[in-house]
């Protein structure tokens, strides 16, 4: 059986002339118009440009050309991806009014593949958060239950896909920011191996951890999107110089003979209904011919602590440039230093300030070795810990998030509780490894559960094969809006 691939079928219909891209895009714009008031997935809907771009796709088809593998497929972009002439805010006041003069490399690749950008999605400010409540423009709501968070920081992208506003979206993942919202919104989300997708044009949060990745309704669609955006980019020095990945072509190869390890540390802190879903997914792998065993990687316990030293350190430097001198917000004051201070005080939200202060501290003379450098040693240990696990397993299996979507406002007063939300996703970022979250039925509360598949560097092909098997075995999610009825 072949994995479901709605975006791919949509593109094929447009390429063959069976469907007009303007109609496809028009339907999605109408859905956004009707539904985004309750969800607030988008910071900006680029309806006019989307219609123009769709018309251009149709003209190309009419003239006998091929607009590409994503012809006419609507896509939503996280608002930290630079789009030429279109506001890119990172959901921050400090970037108000800034129009990037260039497209991110991934945006260029999407346009060349025929995809149509329908808008820029909401996020935690500068991607720092796990609920999208950190946006300066108000939170995004989970389409499954609008009293719940969509996760974060790519909550807008995940909610847009879950709500049917766009079949595809891009997010960025520094500590789980694609996978965790994908899990909480019941969609597929994948963080690629560090260096496989160009970061050129991704507004940096923590450069050594950030990766752009796909969100989609199905594993096959995510695979195609990854194939389109991946591959070497000379504009990003950390981009791996290797041929473009091709995961779509191996998607149906199955898992017979693969060794799947269930990561015990990830099960320990997870809710019982989430753990039960992970075990069901493991059984599905075994039924498809994989060998399944429990595996321990003790060092992942240290991941969260190391992450909250490394990522703020880098962020404190990356976010220094928002000083009111060249672009974005400027709050005038009597001299330059006072202007810098006034601008940054007014332009950044509380969580961003917290992390800048934390990061400045951990890089300071006298503290760097105890904190930042110590965290780098944990990072090395994390890679070694995974290496040991991958000596006996091809992939690891665990939950994406320890819980399903939590109520809006329930963790905003307790940053440490919020940070715990990424405990299962952070280790892959520290190691630079790929990982994918696949929706696996509802939890006891009726909300989506995400199962995560982790693999060593450049194991995307294997990862997607396992993901396709997990997807095929997954119980269906409840219809949007019905999770509340389960609980009542």
């Amino acid at each position: 059986m072949s994995a479901p691939r709605p975006s791919i079928e949509l593109a094929q219909a447009v390429r063959s002339g069976a469907r007009a891209a303007v109609d496809v895009v028009g339907e999605h714009l109408a859905a956004i118009e009707a539904g985004d008031g309750a969800v607030h997935a988008f910071n900006l809907v680029t309806a006019e440009q989307a219609r123009d771009q769709a018309a251009a796709v149709d003209r190309m088809v009419a003239e006998g050309g091929d607009p590409g593998p994503l012809a006419g497929v609507p896509i939503a972009l996280k608002d930290n991806l630079c789009t030429r002439g279109v506001p890119t805010t990172c959901s921050s006041r400090i970037l108000e009014g800034w129009l990037p003069p260039y497209d991110a490399t991934v945006v260029t690749r999407l346009r060349r593949a025929g995809a149509v950008v329908v808008g820029k999605t909401n996020m935690d400010e500068f991607a720092m958060g796990s609920s999208t409540e950190g946006s300066a423009f108000g939170p995004t709501h989970n389409p499954h239950d609008t009293s719940r968070v969509p996760g974060g920081s790519s909550g807008g992208s995940a909610a847009a896909v879950a709500a049917g506003f766009a079949p595809l979206a891009l997010g960025s993942d520094t500590g789980g920011s694609i996978r965790q919202p994908a899990a909480l919104c019941g969609v597929v989300g994948m963080k690629p191996t560090y260096g496989t997708v160009s970061r050129y044009g991704l507004v940096a949060f923590a450069s050594s951890l950030d990766q752009i990745g796909p969100l989609a309704t199905t594993v096959a669609d995510a695979a195609l999107l990854f194939d389109v955006i991946g591959g070497h980019d000379p504009a990003d020095s950390t981009s791996l110089n290797r041929p473009s990945p091709r995961v779509l072509s191996v998607l149906d190869d199955g898992v017979a003979g693969l060794a799947v390890g269930v990561l015990t540390e990830f099960l320990e802190g997870a809710a019982p209904d989430v753990v039960a879903r992970v075990r069901e997914a493991a059984e599905a792998c075994a039924a498809a011919g994989a060998t399944v065993q429990e595996v321990s990687v003790p060092v992942v316990h240290l991941g969260l602590s190391a992450y909250y030293l490394i990522s703020p350190g880098e962020a404190s430097s990356n976010l220094a440039r928002y000083d009111g001198v060249r672009y974005g917000l400027r709050v005038d004051a009597e001299d330059t230093v006072a202007m810098n201070t006034a601008t940054r005080s007014a332009g950044f939200g509380a969580e961003v300030k917290r992390r800048i202060m934390l990061g400045t501290y951990v890089l300071s003379a006298g503290y760097m070795d105890a904190y930042y450098n110590q965290a780098l040693r944990v990072r090395t240990k994390t890679i070694e810990g995974f290496d040991a696990a991958y000596a006996c397993c091809d992939v690891l299996l665990g939950p994406t998030s320890p819980t399903t979507a939590f109520p809006l406002g329930s963790k905003t007063g307790d940053p440490l509780a919020m940070y715990q939300s990424d405990v299962c996703t952070i280790p892959s970022n520290l190691a630079g490894h790929p990982a994918i979250s696949i929706p696996f039925g509802p939890g006891d509360d009726g909300l989506p559960v995400g199962v995560q598949v982790l693999g060593p560097a450049l194991s995307e092909g294997t990862l997607f094969r396992v993901a396709a098997v997990v997807e095929a075995a997954a119980p269906p999610l409840l219809p949007l809006g019905s999770a509340g009825e389960v609980r009542s």
Partner: protein, 479 residues
């Protein structure tokens, strides 16, 4: 320098590399263009932009390392974090604890060996102009920032504290400049800021004493400023110590007009730059093939070229000092070939050196492009007497301006034909007849009137006569 004291000087020299493009982007690296025209998302530090290392800049840094006999090694880049409006990202990408070049040295013409601790790569900042009476950021009405210089490649060359006088400091800066130019990495223009010098100065009573507390002096815009500032600072520190005070470790600013250094900030006020490994770049590991290719492409360094010229020119006959200056100028400007070609063609070494160091040097760029054959034929015409020195200089100026040409044709076009012996004799005779008093006094032994009579002949012939030939004719007539 007060007796009983020794100064200790180490220099940090920032050298802008003369690459076509910037260190981390493709923007033009060009001094003096319209402000903010050579900029892009990368060198403006726009959100989402990323640096990509310029391979040509790496080659030039390796050339500098080779010229300074450094060990060239695998290196990394760090971020140096501090807020300043002309710092586009509010951090500078610089090499920190793993620089590309370490442990070299530079020998000064007086034989002193100055150790080179490191020569590392970094990016330049933009340039801020403060409008208002002070010209500094404090008290400015507003400030303008030009990012054309933002991201221009620099190599910072850090010497060991091996200099003991302002003369040595000046000699080091002069020799280093010549080496940077010769290595092809820099144009060495201090006045355009492509070479910038900071001096670390301390004093002590005896060579056996440990180093004293040092001060770093910034804003040294010429070799002359360097010498003055170092002397001033050493004297200031000696006075402090002798009056019972202590030298405080400081960064100080050289005020050229006032001729003194003023405190900028103390060690306690020094920035915490929060250096950490630049995550947007990967380690730079040049292989042996690359470093060898860079070394193989380099010509000889100034010291070797000066030695070669002096050997070629032979005994200077008591003019050793002026010849050494002329040789230094020729090597500094890269005009060695003009001198060696002329001497090989039989032109006297004195003439070849003088015309090259004095006249060709006035437009060195054009002189380096000049066809050596036409230069040689010009000097040969002068040496044989068919052109006077004045005429030869005029023809050379035309050759340089036109980028070449046939000196004989230019001389002919200017009417510079050497006078025949007959017409020269006639011209002299006419002058003698016209000035009987002066001629009489000259004939009676008043030699200084030769100058008056020669001048009169030159005027009458509109400079066409050869002054030496006129003098000879006058002496012949006197008998």
């Amino acid at each position: 320098m007060k007796p009983g004291w020794e100064m200790v000087v180490g220099l940090e020299v920032h050298c802008e590399l003369k690459t076509a493009s910037k260190l981390f982007c493709g923007c033009r690296n060009m001094f003096g263009d319209e402000p903010n025209t050579n900029v892009c998302p990368v060198c403006l530090g726009l959100p989402g932009s990323l640096p990509v290392l310029n391979a040509r800049a790496v080659e030039m840094a390796m050339a500098i390392g080779t010229a300074l006999l450094c060990e060239i090694r695998p290196s990394t880049f760090h971020r140096k974090n501090y807020f300043y409006p002309d710092q586009a990202k509010d951090y500078q990408i610089s090499q920190y604890d793993e620089p590309i070049n370490v442990n070299g040295h530079l020998d000064l013409p007086d034989g002193t060996r100055v150790g080179i601790e490191r020569a590392h790569m970094e990016e330049d900042t933009g340039k801020t102009t403060h409008a208002g009476a002070s010209g500094r950021i404090h008290g400015a009405d507003y400030s303008l920032v030009d990012y054309n210089r933002s991201g221009v490649p620099l190599v910072e060359i850090v010497s060991r504290p091996d200099m003991r006088s302002s003369a040595q400091a000046r000699a080091y800066a002069t020799e280093l400049r010549a080496v940077l130019v010769a290595s092809g990495a820099s144009d060495g223009k201090m006045e355009e800021g492509s070479m910038r010098v900071d001096a670390n100065v301390s004093v002590r009573r005896s060579t056996a004493d440990p180093f004293g507390t040092r001060c770093e002096i910034k804003n040294l815009n010429s070799v002359r400023s360097l010498g003055r500032a170092v002397d001033y600072e050493a004297d200031r520190q000696i006075e402090l110590i002798e009056s019972g005070d202590q030298v405080v470790q400081q960064t100080r600013h050289w005020d050229e007009d006032a001729g003194r250094t003023v405190a900028l900030r103390s060690k306690e006020e020094a920035y915490d730059y929060r250096y950490f490994l630049e995550p947007d770049l990967v380690p730079l590991v040049p292989d042996a093939e690359w470093t060898n290719a860079v070394a193989a492409a380099m010509g000889p360094m100034p010291a070797a070229r000066r030695a070669r010229l002096i050997e070629l020119l032979g005994d200077a006959g008591g003019r050793a000092e002026s010849q050494a200056d002329q040789v230094a100028t020729v090597v500094d400007l890269g005009l060695d070939d003009l001198v060696t070609t002329a001497v090989a063609a039989g032109v006297t070494s004195a003439l070849a050196l003088a015309r090259t160091a004095n006249e060709a040097a006035t437009d060195a760029d054009a002189a380096r492009r000049l066809d050596p054959d036409s230069y040689v034929s010009l000097l040969t015409m002068e040496a044989s007497g068919s052109l006077t020195a004045t005429q030869a200089k005029a023809v050379l100026a035309d050759l340089l301006a036109a980028g070449g040409g046939d000196p004989a044709a230019i001389a002919a076009a200017k009417g510079f034909e050497a006078m025949s012996e007959d017409s020269l004799a006639t011209a002299v005779a006419e002058v003698v007849a016209a000035h009987p008093d002066e001629w009489g006094r000259y004939r009676d032994g008043e030699d200084k009137l030769a100058g008056f009579l020669t001048g009169a002949v030159m005027k009458a012939t509109r400079g066409q006569a050869d002054a030496k030939a006129v003098g000879a004719e006058l002496r012949r007539l006197r008998g």
